[in-house]
């Protein structure tokens, strides 16, 4: 099964990449953009989707500083 794992910086932790992107957009004329955050996407095929949470906890994300979201793509 195809899975997407979305990994984001935890709320409240400084996200310098998100801030840099947020500052760059108005310079290109895009107004009204706020709350920009930059994370990672891991795509993978798995035989046992039930193992995905453990994969995230142990390797794919660092739960101390990142939130993850598992999306099964079918």
């Amino acid at each position: 099964m195809r899975a997407h794992v979305l990994i984001r910086p935890k709320a409240g932790i400084l996200d310098p990449q998100g801030e840099a992107v947020q500052r760059a957009l108005p310079a290109l004329g895009f107004a009204g953009v706020t709350n920009v955050h930059v994370g990672r996407l891991v795509e993978l095929d798995v035989e046992e989707p039930a193992q995905l949470e453990s994969m995230c906890e142990r390797l794919l994300a660092n739960p101390l500083v990142e939130d993850y979201e598992i999306v099964l793509a079918g």
């Binding site: 932790i13 400084l14 310098p16 990449q17 840099a20 390797l59 794919l60 660092n62 101390l64 500083v65």
Partner: protein
């Protein structure tokens, strides 16, 4: 006394760490794929870009065969020093609390930094005095130390915040100006600046880094008396 200095694919400071350790004791390189620590009395996890820093710095190295042995060694009370990437590896291995995040300024930064010793009672700083300043170079992109408030309060109470950046020196934006931390037991220590690059007057005019290696030697040899 013998130091074991780990070498991962992508390590780049293991030779300097080996040279620094050899100024105070014997030292040997330990290959990442080999789980034998070869009788080392203390371990150094060096700086660099282990396994290309893929995914997160230190995330893959944490699962190397040698690290399984280092985790057992640390759990038995053995001294483990993590420098820069080694600090990141020890945090990923949960041998140390917290995590290292991208510098607040988003830039790779290389500069001499002034550090203050907050705890001189431990195994890695017993050669220093409280409030002493150490001048040591730092060079990294991912050095912003982070831990949650509850963890920081517990670390503070237990004396685990061993080194902090002096006023105006916290270029990476670390929480509470933290530069180096130990575990609760005090036998595992990590810092972002590089003591192995400050062991000779030719290296930026400071030999302050030697105090860390010398403190480790005193700890190991004291334990054997």
């Amino acid at each position: 006394m013998k130091f074991g200095v780990l070498r991962f694919p992508g390590s780049c400071d293991e030779v300097d760490a080996l040279g620094a350790a050899r100024r105070v004791a014997d030292a040997e390189l330990l290959w990442h794929g080999d789980s034998d620590l070869k009788g080392a009395d203390a371990i150094v996890v060096p700086g660099g870009f282990s396994y290309g820093d893929y995914l997160r710095a230190g995330a893959i190295a944490r699962f190397a065969p040698v690290m399984e042995s280092v985790i057992d060694f640390a759990e038995d009370g053995g001294l483990v020093l993590g420098i820069c990437n080694g600090f990141q590896v020890l945090c990923e291995a949960r041998l140390l609390p917290g995590a290292l995040l991208v510098n607040a300024n988003r830039r790779f930064t290389f500069r001499q930094v002034e550090l203050e010793v907050l705890n001189s009672g431990g195994s890695f700083t017993r050669g220093c005095s409280i409030g002493e300043r150490l001048s040591i170079p730092a060079k990294h992109s991912w050095g912003r130390y982070h831990a949650d408030g509850e963890t920081l309060a517990a670390m503070d109470r237990a004396g685990q915040i061993v080194l902090r950046y002096a006023q105006g020196e916290n270029f990476n934006g670390s929480v509470h100006e933290i530069a180096g931390v130990s575990n609760e037991r005090g036998n595992v220590f990590g810092l972002m600046p590089h003591p192995e690059h400050a062991v000779d007057e030719l290296m930026g005019g400071s030999t302050d880094g030697l105090k860390i290696f010398e403190s480790m030697r005193l700890t190991v040899e004291g334990a054997h008396v």
